[in-house]
């Protein structure tokens, strides 16, 4: 999550502003199979991906729109061999570039090429501080050691490093060690992100949902660490929705200041938007990006406050949380236009809490992310 001066945010009275950041999911291919992957359950194949030439054009359109930050993500963005070319073009266009990677396929030579192309920042995901659990979650043996090595190469080149730790019932007990690992690896930032339940994570709710006690402990650990590590490590903490009282202003509001481009060029208000049934998203293959940002039906559907039902419509917080998360309303209530049930003002809020409690006592077995729609974890 980016810390922004208030002057960069769109005027609350306007439905949207100049976009600040773009998440470019350049491929869905990935060497890991994490059961909470934020990609849609229906993954896009390599043959559907935008070509290098298409991306080079789109990067120009992104810069022309006034976008400041470009996050190269996936899948695993290193799976595309033209990543260096894309980073070089983005840097030449004065975009601030971030690589969001699992890092398990990173090499020193590749990192040199990316740094020379002008990469500004690297964000590495970690599944666990323990080799065995990291292997079980990501489905790749030796992943943790590769990540440690990659982090050291990043720091040796004086590139700033963020560690992204996705937390859930089966690894939340590691949070103190996770914070120590971020320090050991020389990260300046640690994102402690509780799993958000859309797509793959929704399939795996019973295996991932933490207990209320775990969440209480985690919040205390983060508070204490923030105080102790002030000036050394910035800790971003994404609270779990199901146990929250206030919804998140997801993406700073639907279509307000950021957007996502899928591997095939679909422009999405957020990375999970494809989980909403019945939505159709415009592609950079069919329209100029500037047109899509201003006029696409999907982008405008839940923009601003006009779409809001009660209790959002007359709520004092509507310009802070923008009604919360549309994908969550769709996933839990079957209606993307409803108040996010994570909000205590939602008439359905109590059900969400009850569901979370039930899921927190579910089976630990995962369904792994893959191109076949998911594979159940084997016994033992």
């Amino acid at each position: 999550m980016t810390e922004l001066s208030a002057r960069l945010r769109p005027d609350p009275a306007r439905s949207h502003g100049i976009p600040i950041a773009v998440l470019a999911e350049i491929t869905h291919r990935c060497p890991l199979q994490c059961p909470y992957c934020s990609n849609p359950v229906e993954l896009e194949r390599a043959s559907a991906e935008l070509s290098t030439e298409e991306w080079l054009r789109v990067l120009g359109e992104i810069a022309d729109l006034g976008v400041l930050q470009l996050h190269f993500s996936g899948g695993e963005p290193l799976a595309r061999r033209d990543l260096e070319t894309l980073v070089a073009r983005a840097a030449a266009l004065d975009l601030y570039t971030n690589l969001i990677t699992s890092a398990v396929t990173l090499t020193e030579a590749r990192l040199d090429a990316l740094a020379n192309a002008g990469l500004d920042h690297v964000q590495i995901s970690v599944q666990s501080v323990e080799d065995a659990l990291a292997t079980r979650i990501g489905g790749l043996r030796g992943a943790l050691e590769r990540k440690r090595a990659a982090a050291s190469w990043v720091r040796a080149r004086d590139l700033p490093l963020t560690l992204n730790a996705v937390m859930h019932r089966q690894n939340l007990h590691e949070l103190p060690e996770m914070i120590e690992m971020a320090l050991d690896l020389g990260a300046a930032r640690l994102e402690v992100a509780n799993v958000q339940y859309y797509g793959w994570a929704l399939k795996n709710r019973a295996a991932l949902m933490p207990s209320p006690d775990q969440i209480d402990t985690a919040s205390r650990v983060v508070d204490t660490a923030r105080e102790r590590l002030h000036g050394r490590l910035v800790i971003d903490y994404v609270e779990p929705d199901y146990y929250a009282a206030r919804p998140k202003p997801c993406m700073g509001g639907w279509g307000r200041q950021v957007f996502n481009i899928s591997p095939s060029g679909k422009v999405l208000p957020c990375h999970a938007a494809e989980s909403i049934a019945g939505m159709r998203f415009d592609s950079v293959r069919d329209h100029p990006l500037a047109w899509i940002w201003d006029h696409s039906e999907a982008m405008n559907r839940y923009r601003g406050t006009d779409w809001m039902p009660e209790p959002c419509r007359s709520c004092a917080h509507k310009h802070d949380d923008w009604g919360g998360c549309r994908c969550q309303a769709a996933a839990l209530l079957g209606d993307a236009g409803a108040t996010d049930p994570a909000c205590a003002f939602s008439p359905r809020h109590a059900e969400v809490f009850e569901a979370a409690l039930a899921f927190s006592e579910g089976s630990d077995r995962y369904t792994y992310r893959d191109f076949s729609g998911g594979t159940p974890e084997r016994d033992g």
């Binding site: 980016t2 960069l8 400041l68 601030y96 971030n98 500004d120 004086d158 700033p160 300046a188």
Partner: protein, 93 residues
């Protein structure tokens, strides 16, 4: 930061003029600052070569202002940016 410091932006911190919004920006990992007019003038002089004392002298001449006062203001501003990781002292590095 001392008068002998040679302040410079680290490679991953970018000072740039944003034409779309008509403002100067300071870009860093997951952070975007809007420096005020004075800060922009100071940051443009932070090239890792000029000492803080020289930067203060340049600004004092440009704005016809007392140099000791400028030096103290600029030192405070740059020390704050250094603490946030937006600036480094090349001398100390």
């Amino acid at each position: 930061m001392t008068p002998d410091s040679r302040p410079a932006l680290p490679r991953f911190v970018k000072l740039r003029f944003d034409r779309a919004r008509d403002i100067w920006l300071l870009l860093a990992p997951e952070r975007i600052l809007i420096p005020d007019e004075t800060a922009v003038e100071v940051l443009k002089l932070c090239d890792g070569e000029a000492t803080l004392a020289a930067i203060a002298a340049t600004l004092a001449a440009r704005y016809d202002a007392p140099e000791p006062e400028i030096l103290s203001d600029v030192t405070a501003m740059l020390a704050d940016l250094e603490a946030k990781g937006f600036l480094r002292d090349r001398e100390a590095a």
